[in-house]
Symmetry: D2
Subunit: 311 residues, 4 copies
Amino acid sequence: MPLSTDQQAEIDQARGEALTTRRAVAPALEEILYKAIPLLDHGFVRVIDYMGDDAAVVQAARVSYGRGTKKVSEDKGLINYLMRHRHTTPFEMCEIKYHVKLPIFVARQWIRHRTANVNEYSARYSILDNEFYMPKPEQLASQSANNRQGRDAVLTGKEAERVFDILKKDSELVYEHYMEMLNEGEAGTPLDPERSGLARELARMNLSLSFYTQWYWKTNLHNLMHFLSLRADAHAQYEIRVYADVMIDTMKRWTPICHDAFLEYRMGGAHLSKTGLAAIKRMIGGEKVDQKSSGLNPREWRELMNSLGIE
Amino acid sequence: MPLSTDQQAEIDQARGEALTTRRAVAPALEEILYKAIPLLDHGFVRVIDYMGDDAAVVQAARVSYGRGTKKVSEDKGLINYLMRHRHTTPFEMCEIKYHVKLPIFVARQWIRHRTANVNEYSARYSILDNEFYMPKPEQLASQSANNRQGRDAVLTGKEAERVFDILKKDSELVYEHYMEMLNEGEAGTPLDPERSGLARELARMNLSLSFYTQWYWKTNLHNLMHFLSLRADAHAQYEIRVYADVMIDTMKRWTPICHDAFLEYRMGGAHLSKTGLAAIKRMIGGEKVDQKSSGLNPREWRELMNSLGIE
Amino acid sequence: MPLSTDQQAEIDQARGEALTTRRAVAPALEEILYKAIPLLDHGFVRVIDYMGDDAAVVQAARVSYGRGTKKVSEDKGLINYLMRHRHTTPFEMCEIKYHVKLPIFVARQWIRHRTANVNEYSARYSILDNEFYMPKPEQLASQSANNRQGRDAVLTGKEAERVFDILKKDSELVYEHYMEMLNEGEAGTPLDPERSGLARELARMNLSLSFYTQWYWKTNLHNLMHFLSLRADAHAQYEIRVYADVMIDTMKRWTPICHDAFLEYRMGGAHLSKTGLAAIKRMIGGEKVDQKSSGLNPREWRELMNSLGIE
Amino acid sequence: MPLSTDQQAEIDQARGEALTTRRAVAPALEEILYKAIPLLDHGFVRVIDYMGDDAAVVQAARVSYGRGTKKVSEDKGLINYLMRHRHTTPFEMCEIKYHVKLPIFVARQWIRHRTANVNEYSARYSILDNEFYMPKPEQLASQSANNRQGRDAVLTGKEAERVFDILKKDSELVYEHYMEMLNEGEAGTPLDPERSGLARELARMNLSLSFYTQWYWKTNLHNLMHFLSLRADAHAQYEIRVYADVMIDTMKRWTPICHDAFLEYRMGGAHLSKTGLAAIKRMIGGEKVDQKSSGLNPREWRELMNSLGIE
């Protein structure tokens, strides 16, 4: 349950207001504006503002005086060209702002993308809610033996139970102690009127990385695509990937032509090395090439076959 | 005359369209949206898109679910506080996009502000118009004797005439030769059908820095204020200052509370040194302090007196 | 004890090597290069590389071919001028790289400074050490009643004991459970050879924000000063301030002239508002001004008096 | 002749000094440190400082205490892995600083790379030298008929002469008038002691974009590679490509392992689209695929064949 009744009421009120503007409007994105799209057990993503649309990319590329767009097919052709040839600046002319609720360990990965604007809920100033992330059973993966960053088979039975038990009990415990140190009781009354509470900026350090935080996160379309290409990738941690996946959907509502170009040229494409290209050329020429003769090391060969969808 | 009939028609058409949005709207800015505000002899500034308003700053500071604003007085108090204490991130949540036409030598100063998105009209790809900057007589200043970056008294009489004459004739000449090298005649026909034109990317280098270029320039409110504080400053070159001044007006229409805070705490304020503060303390205590006894060097002393408006 | 024997040996070895270079060298910084300066209970700061010195700032300002420096007094005058007039780009020409060990809640504040390069120890890839921050008794402050971000009087007696007890026991507990979920025993052997361990990227979320992480952090002198001016400020949280204080010392060894200018014009200076300057002018003129007649609100008046060191 | 005797003497003096450092040293780069590598007719590139080497990339990836490197083969394997998988942050840990002399129209392209530090010679403050770029005959290309950004066959005979003549005479003329407006004669004496000179910040606008400027330009290895991959590309304008080519050589001296990985995975590689990959898979499977049946448009097909080196 990511939202309280009050929060939902605030969102409904914001959604109720409609004003007139001369700016570009993305109707499909307006439909879901301010709405919280639930994620994981307590998280959400909300689009709370945006600037520009597909046409804004075209206008910027042409430095035009008016709408700058011609036929849809021409706009699409230009956007595809820009995407293919890494002319990134026109995509920077669109901007989007999200309100995101996410576990702290996810926030720590996310924040590494520096070219964005962020306002995070301050645990120095305010008290965090009692909400922490508990993985679903199908996400309770064991450590990969091959890949030190990866997950392997899912834990089951007693092992799974024990992990759930630890995660849940420890989170509850540290939160209870957090409130005790703060001397915070129900509805803002002190637990014990006789004593002072520990400073918030200190007490927070007892909370674990599974607790939820939230922030406003604003970026331009170019940087958004860079973020998505890394975080919707199969190598990204599941818990951040679900955010990226939902954000790709919001991008589709916002700039559908850019979205399609992004899937075609970035997400669905692959970067091949000089040696990889040479191996392909020989294969197309009818030569029988294997890892050894390709000049690639075993891992690179596997990655190349993977890119081509060849087993 | 900064705009052609076609350009004006495109702008009028864009202004004519009104759509409904759930986003925040800044009515006073909508009034002038897309309009070209003329500057210098051929330049302009046009606001062509924006995101957020004063309330968006408040929302971001509170990471709120709804509008996040309370009473206007509270919002104003919060914005003043943020401005005073350099809490800059909430101001990054508003974004604005300009279309600017400006002489190349001004563009070269402007571009040094890196935290912005830019799409410039490409002289590699297109042909620049025959428009160059000619200073007004009252701007034809002589080189300052004291300040190597500054201007002194205005040139007059024969000296002024000679400068005007040079600037005008040389600009006309290099443009004529630019078109000749391009082999470009009226309305896109070649001057001489028998010969090829020089590549645009080469021919452009014959143009002088007084020629106008144009770009889309997008930045957030925090970076805009940083730009304005440097470029609307008395030490900035006149030709960029006139742009900054007009942009401060657009900021007033967009985020009036931030605008007032900006004037009060940044443009109208001053940063004093440790020694400067100590000198002031003594003066307030009734002590007679002059440059020598202040511990400041003559230039610093002058700057301090200047900040305080004391002669 | 921030360093293991192995780590200390690695540092000693690095310090033992001396090579010849044509680059600028900062002798006082070389003295402490690679050394770990201990901080808090388990943290440290180590300077591990640098580029440039005071002269590099001068060279950049002059775009010179050689050393670019003249007399020390002239260099100092130029650096002071640059600092005073916010000519920030020459300071960007010096670069420094730190290795820092710090509690996660401090890292979360620190990372908000975006214009730096960071490589953090990955808890997705590796296992974190059993080291968590325990405040010293004199840092165990209560929540400020006036300032929601601040600290008040120090907790004592039973209250203090209880807080220590909670912080210590909870940290020990979550770490024990972290290792249990990972199925990690002594020296890399599994606790229980029969079961798989939970993926590292998941297990880490049971750790609390008091645990130490570490990173390489590299930035230029301009951005370093910006960081220091905010984080060595009295309003910064104590636990990050101690890092900033130590880094100011390293800056003194690196670029002593810039360091002095930084203290004089930034750390020791103050930014006054338009209304504040006007009030000061009246006071210097002999007028009796109090908060009401100053036009400042009570908080601003307090801040102004504070800046001037007047009670 | 890019350097005066005085400048060369300053460089020689800087090169003559050798100091001892504990920092990483790149011997092959030290060999050419400060030396001006000539480019075009009056330009140059000089490496004037650097931080880190190949090992610094490895250290950062491992967040190590000491040198962090193991066997050369392991370091190479790790660097290749990082390059292939877009783990860009370790490359940001190396920094390099250049002094570059370049025509203004090249500087205008270059400056669009924002993530760098720049100090440019100020024509507001100083007087520019009488040096302008004249293309060599083999660079005097005509405008491409197919590609609006490109060059076609080289101009010859009378056409070439006419272009040379224009470029040379116009440059000489605008410089002569620049000095006349400044009232600057030989060796800093006024041309006419009776009159004032025009302010430098105004007079400069009479100069054309072919004139040389110079700057200090500093960036990290990641951003350098991004710059080089775009500017050493066949689509980049010749006049900036020669700079990128020389800088790739300096990179080889600085970080030879990164250099090789850069050529293998970036410069020599290619990014293929989803449809492109599917077409290749079919071709490898023995299917006869042409542009029509590939699903690619003619231009994309041509680009794909080009990437594979197939005619």
